[in-house]
């Protein structure tokens, strides 16, 4: 028997983390006159640390709802 499987589509609420995997690491990188190259700065790491602590705080409250859905 195959294991439990879940398939989600972008119509569902997209996971912010999945989006960040793609949007911060992917896409064509251009340097314009006013561009921030996220790859070249530590901003992402700072942000992800902030994200982890924020998400873990948020989840205290709505975890049950999310997993029961």
């Amino acid at each position: 028997m195959s294991g439990p499987v879940s398939i989600s589509h972008p119509d569902d609420e997209l996971s912010l983390v999945d989006l960040l995997d793609r949007l911060l690491a992917g896409g064509v990188v251009l340097t314009g006159e006013v561009t921030i190259s996220l790859a070249e700065v530590d901003l992402v790491h700072v942000s992800l640390r902030a994200l982890i602590s924020s998400v873990s705080t948020l989840q205290q409250g709505d975890r049950e709802d999310a997993t029961d859905a």
Binding site: S2, P10, A25, G32, Q59
Partner: protein, 252 residues
């Protein structure tokens, strides 16, 4: 004063920008050259200049808004045409700077569009039950060392450690089997770091976080075979995504 946010690049004449709100609530539009066009949005310089974006990257609420809006516009554009998504937070001074960039990087965009034409991106994640110390077996090692509790303890610890290593080995094997199955139905792959359990929202450990570029004709096959390849592990397939992870030529 305003700035120009770039969402994606497409071929000239590929179509209008989607009818929706962009990262600054603006209506996206298309600017272009004879050959290539960019889907862009006019955004306020206040908040979207270098200092504004740097500040936004420290603010989870702002990041989430920007990420969802950027993805939303790129995904909507990709519905009916081939696009090369542009990295989040790419901002130009004005339309002329954008068209100059399109001319300058023409060959690279052509190559990117050719690479993703007729293909979409699908994410694959694999979760297994915790590979950290499993619960100790009730009386492992106790039988022959009943009178030597210290030795029994050490034997038990070693057995736990061996089971932990075995579990990690099994998890790696499952991850590689799923990745291999997926790769066989795909034209390219990128790997991401497994997401922290606090972010994935699952109690199980993520052992594979990869994304694949798949020909549209093979999407059903990809989803079916990948979903079934977990052999007890949870396999999560997400998509289709615009080809964010395959827009840039592979490094190395």
């Amino acid at each position: 004063m305003s700035l120009v946010w770039v969402y994606a690049v497409q071929e000239a004449g590929a179509g209008e920008a989607p009818d929706m709100s962009g990262v600054d609530g603006e209506r996206p539009r298309v600017v272009g050259t004879e050959e290539l066009a960019a889907v862009v949005g006019t955004v306020a310089d206040d908040g979207f200049d270098e200092a504004g974006l740097a500040a936004a990257m420290e603010d989870l609420g702002r990041i989430e808004m920007l990420v969802r809006a950027h993805h939303g516009v790129v995904a909507a554009t990709a519905q009916d045409r081939t696009v090369a998504p542009v990295r989040l937070a790419t901002v130009f001074r004005d339309d002329d700077a954008v068209t100059a960039m399109l001319r300058q990087r023409h060959d690279e965009f052509r190559a990117a569009l050719d690479r993703v034409r007729g293909r979409r991106e699908w994410g694959v994640k694999v979760y297994v039950d915790g590979t950290a110390a499993p619960p100790p077996a009730p009386d492992a090692g106790a039988a022959s060392t009943g009178d030597r509790p210290g030795t029994a303890y050490l034997l038990r610890r070693r057995a736990d450690r061996d089971r932990g290593a075995e579990a990690r080995e099994d998890a790696r094997a499952v991850a590689e089997r799923v990745a291999g199955t997926a790769a066989a139905c795909a034209v390219d792959v990128r790997r991401f770091a497994p997401q922290d359990a606090r972010l994935s929202g699952r109690t199980q450990e993520m052992v594979l976080n990869a994304t694949f570029l798949v020909d549209r004709e093979r999407e059903d096959e990809f989803r079916d075979t990948v979903s079934r390849s977990g052999d007890g592990a949870v396999v999560e397939v997400t998509g289709p995504w615009p080809p964010f992870s395959f827009a840039a030529a592979e490094e190395s």
